[in-house]
């Protein structure tokens, strides 16, 4: 039998008994044909590839990342905890050196889930990668991590969670927000005051193909990663850039995804979106599995694969080249950009981030103000004031992982001094001591 070059842990959990609704893209059938392909290929018999069952993420895993309104239990289903638990299991196998790489093919996805959770957005309730990363940081010690999100939709949830964290570099490839949900992910969304430059968006034009994606990877993402020197690279492996995806407009392929994964060489990959359940997912997932295992993926092709038809226009190529150059220059100048931005503070201690957030799956509108303290010793205490149009108003205090004693103290002080009854709920997230409370 075949032997994998890299020992690969595969958490394959199609959740065949769970759906958002019976005709929703996120339904029981989503990974059925992927499973058929993976089984038929005999992946489980390849020496070095190991199937691992997911575990269940805990309430604390969720609280480390999110403020659920009203609470974790009412917002999060077992299926969501298992999906996140699957990602955690994959990462655990990697951290414990049981495998060289790990891939969590789980559902539902998570990268649209932001810090505050009023409901389901973009089929996501909790951010499965963030839960995974904060879980392993808690258990295995701090890690400098890069997340490369290759889902077609901007991972606005992951961006929000790591907005002010320079130890988590977030790079997102996606279809330009002017043409697709969630309508964000522009290049000027560059990170909070303590992490300016560590949130990199690459909004690509519709009909970007293999050439464009691999150009971005080779000429932008890889150089940035080389400079950033992460301890761990995670691929948010959404698969809806595929040319057959029903809800996007890109021209990426299984070969392209496999090559991208091979060159990126992530330690851990986690499935995100991807709804071409017959034409794309079986092939893209297989391609990624083989690439991660270090096996030949050159025979993985879709039935209707035609490189000629999928070739991107010279105009698109030109646009992407310029875009990459612009983004790369911004990355190089991030310190200058940050300095200029801080000059405009004029002595104010906090930088505010004000947004309206729409929950498309549940039809909720949220108004939110985040405030980040500019602290010379740490990434700074921050707060969230948020109100949903369903009438809930909350206030959350977050003490970041690297908080200095003064920020910790201030965090507890604000939490205690916020008058009860003013908000529906008040939260404290103390990442230094891994303590979470609410009143």
């Amino acid at each position: 039998m075949l032997k994998a070059k890299n020992r690969l842990g595969l958490v394959f959990f199609p959740a065949f008994d769970w759906a958002i609704s019976s005709t929703h893209p996120e339904r029981e059938e989503r990974l059925l044909y992927t499973q058929d392909q993976v089984f038929e290929e005999g992946i489980a018999d390849v020496e070095g590839i190991k199937f691992i069952n997911p575990g269940m993420a805990t309430e604390k895993d969720v609280q480390r990342v999110h403020f659920c309104v009203p609470d974790v239990t009412s917002r999060v289903t077992e299926s969501h905890l298992i999906s996140a638990g699957g990602a955690i299991k994959a990462a655990e196998a990697f951290m414990e050196r049981e495998v060289d790489k790990a891939f969590a093919i789980v559902r539902p996805p998570g990268h649209h889930a932001q810090r505050v959770v009023f409901g389901d957005r973009g089929f996501c309730i909790i951010n499965i990668e963030a839960l995974m990363l904060e879980n392993i940081r808690q258990r295995f010690g701090h890690r400098r991590i890069a997340i490369v999100d290759t889902d077609c939709h901007h991972g606005d949830g992951t961006q929000d969670i790591y907005w002010n964290d320079r130890d988590t570099l977030y790079i997102s490839f996606h279809q330009d927000g002017r043409t697709l949900y969630p309508g964000t992910g522009f290049i000027d969304e560059f990170g909070g005051p303590a992490a300016m430059g560590y949130n990199i968006n690459i909004p690509l034009p519709p009909e970007t193909g293999e050439e464009g994606f691999l150009y971005v990877l080779d000429n932008l993402v890889m150089p940035i990663l080389e400079e950033y020197k992460p301890d761990l690279v995670v691929n948010s492996a959404g698969q809806d850039n595929h040319y057959t995806d029903p809800i996007t407009n890109m021209n990426f392929t299984a070969q392209g995804y496999a090559k991208l994964n091979h060159r990126l060489n992530p330690d851990i990959a986690v499935l995100e979106g991807g709804y071409s359940i017959e034409g794309a997912l079986p092939y893209v997932n297989l391609g990624i599995i083989l690439a991660m295992a270090g096996l030949d993926y050159s025979h993985v092709k879709e039935p209707d694969y035609d490189p000629g038809k999928l070739k991107q226009s010279p105009r698109t190529t030109e646009y992407i080249k310029k875009l990459c150059e612009t983004i790369y220059q911004r990355w190089r100048k991030k310190e200058d950009i940050a300095r200029d931005a801080l000059k405009t503070l004029n002595g104010r201690e906090y930088v505010a981030r004000i947004r309206n957030i729409y929950y498309d799956t549940d039809g909720i509108m949220e108004e939110q103000t985040q405030k980040f303290k500019v602290c010379p010793r740490c990434s700074g205490l921050n707060t969230i004031h948020s109100r949903s149009d369903w009438g809930y108003e909350i206030f959350a205090v977050s003490i970041p992982r690297d908080a200095c004693p003064a920020c910790i103290e201030e965090g507890y002080k604000i939490y205690k001094e916020t008058p009860e009854g003013k908000y529906f709920k008040i939260y404290l997230q103390d990442r230094v001591n891994d303590i979470y409370m609410s009143q």
Binding site: L2, T23, Q37, E40, E41, G42, A44, D45, P303
Partner: protein, 557 residues
């Protein structure tokens, strides 16, 4: 009355059973150069003086196919493999000639590229040039659409025999295993066919006119004619015979560990709610993982005659056997010597056993009896550790639904059944290590023959209805048909059970002994755009494996 016969590596065991009572048993030595003669030796012993008219059937567990594979006495096979897109298929080259063709069927069974007739003609030419007679044809996703395999068979069958088709082997998805299993089936076809022919001849000569069934690795039987077409199913039936036999003494619906401790190895199996646990996909034969359904059995190199060594104060037992125990004049100390020294076993010369243990003790700074105790304890530890590891593996087998993950069955043994030479001697230490009751059946030496005798016909089928495409397929019985859009899960269940009964009858089952059951079922809503376009219904059904009748007792002479 039923006759059961198990041919092992060293002995042929046979037994006659009448309504659950053991009437008589026979044991003869296996002559590896004359397996056929060894079987008749045992049968002649057993049947002499018996009234042939009262015998209902004979169940055989043979090593004919297994030995052919192990000893490389198989026929050269010409493989025609259609792999479509996916993994690099070159690792599937298992035949003497391997022709990779360009057709392609996808995961829903849709033909994407047809076969190219010239490629098949070229394959036939190459087989012919190499003097190959046996062929196998396997296409990816053939269980979803067998038409390419069938078309190719039509082009080959006039000239080649057998032509094993992948989709007829098993309904399970796993292309590499389907290739290897089909290859092995064609490779042992002639050897097994020869065995069947000779067996029938001798039966005619001896005027024995009863149905003959052959034991499979899953502990079920099939009639001789069916076995002749799919001889691969008869490999490695020994552990199945042993487990069935042992379970005949333990009739309950509990989870348990089953150990068969021999001279060289210990075989470990499990029952879940009283039913033998199977390999998830199939058994591995030599280097080949297959789709041959089999009872889960893991062999470890630890038995009564395993060699004991001490290196740097560290005691090791096995995995090799270097000869007889020293109590019988062997070269190295063995667990049997330890148990003889401790008075738990009673054969050979006790003095020699004690001096064997003295030798072990000297290297570990202890006296002979302490060394014997240490060996005895260590044996228990090794077995317990291995069983625990296997249980951990089994209990973490992948599951795919929330319900299974949260509430799925976990195997939790409530007792340990032990058979084999040192069974009784080793039971006390295992009882302590496992902290579970250990059962040693009275007549365990006939367990294998008994298992063979009590086995019944088993069969399995896999039904898939894709009402969006309007296709129904049941590969094991060669059904690939249109299906109505209104076909439901309930109709699918009915259909599966009917087809299973038919199949079991063809394999030799009599109506009353067939207990069909659905083992897996699922029904997916297929949505294209925003509309439901059909259902994807999947069912697996089997004849419940197990024993033909209860064992009443061992009242044979």
């Amino acid at each position: 009355m039923i006759v059961g016969l198990d041919m092992g590596g060293t002995h042929v065991d046979a037994a006659i059973i009448d309504r659950g009572n053991i009437i008589d048993v026979a044991k003869t030595l296996t002559d590896r150069s004359d397996l056929f003669g060894s079987i008749w030796d045992a049968l002649d012993h057993l049947l002499s003086g018996k009234d042939m008219s009262t015998i209902e059937h004979i169940n055989l567990s043979t090593t004919v196919s297994t030995n052919a594979i192990v000893e490389g006495k198989t026929a050269p096979v010409g493989m025609t493999i259609e792999s479509g897109p996916g993994m690099d298929p070159s690792f599937l080259s298992c035949g003497q000639e391997n022709i990779f063709i360009t057709g392609y069927v996808d995961h829903r069974g849709r033909e994407i590229k047809p076969i190219i007739l010239d490629e098949i003609r070229e394959a036939a030419y190459r087989f012919r040039q190499n003097g190959i007679k046996a062929c196998a044809v396997v296409t990816k996703f053939s269980i979803r659409n067998p038409m390419h395999e069938i078309q190719i068979k039509r082009m080959l069958e006039d000239e080649f025999c057998p032509v094993t088709l992948g989709h007829t082997i098993s309904g399970k998805l796993n292309f590499p295993r389907r290739v290897f299993t089909s290859y092995l089936n064609s490779a042992v076809y002639d050897v097994f066919k020869g065995f069947c022919g000779s067996f029938k001849q001798v039966m005619e000569k001896k005027k024995i006119n009863v149905p003959v069934n052959v034991l499979k690795a899953d502990g079920g039987t099939i009639c001789l004619d069916a076995a002749r077409e799919y001889p691969i199913n008869t490999v490695l039936s020994g552990p199945a015979a042993s487990l069935l036999g042992a379970s005949a003494f333990n009739r309950d619906n509990k989870d348990a560990v089953f150990l068969d401790i021999g001279g060289t190895t210990t075989d470990i199996s499990f029952v879940a709610d009283g039913v033998p646990l199977f390999e998830p996909l199939g058994i591995t034969i030599g280097p080949y993982p297959t789709l041959v359904r089999a009872i889960y059995s893991v062999s470890i190199g630890l038995g009564g005659d395993s060699a004991i060594h001490v290196e740097k104060g560290e005691l090791t037992i096995g995995p090799r056997r270097e000869g007889l125990p020293m109590a019988l004049g062997g070269p190295a100390p063995t667990p049997s010597d330890a148990m003889i020294a401790l008075g738990l076993l009673n054969f050979g010369e006790k003095g020699k056993a004690i001096s064997a243990m003295k030798r072990v003790g000297e290297q570990m700074g202890m006296d002979a009896m302490a060394a014997a105790e240490t060996v005895y304890e260590k044996m228990g530890d090794i077995i317990k550790q291995k069983v625990d590891n296997l249980l951990a593996d089994i209990n973490s087998r992948p599951v795919y639904t929330v319900k299974e993950l949260l509430y799925g069955k976990k195997l939790k043994p409530e007792y340990v059944s032990i058979i084999g030479g040192p069974a009784r001697a080793i039971a006390p230490v295992l009882e302590r290590k496992f902290n579970l009751p250990c059962r040693v059946p009275e007549n365990y030496e006939v367990a294998n023959a008994l298992g063979a005798a009590l086995a019944k016909i088993t069969a399995e089928i896999t039904l898939l209805a894709d009402t969006a495409a309007g296709v129904l397929s049941v590969p094991e019985v060669g059904i690939y048909d249109r299906v109505d859009r209104n076909f439901t899960l309930d109709m699918a269940r009915q259909k599966a059970l009917e087809l299973l009964k038919e199949k079991a009858a063809i394999l030799g089952a009599e109506g009353s002994e067939i207990e069909p059951e659905i083992t897996e079922e699922s029904c997916f809503n297929m949505v294209r755009g925003f509309y439901t376009s059909g259902k994807n219904i999947r069912i697996r059904a089997q004849v419940k494996p197990g024993l033909q009748c209860e064992l009443r007792g061992g009242n044979y002479a």
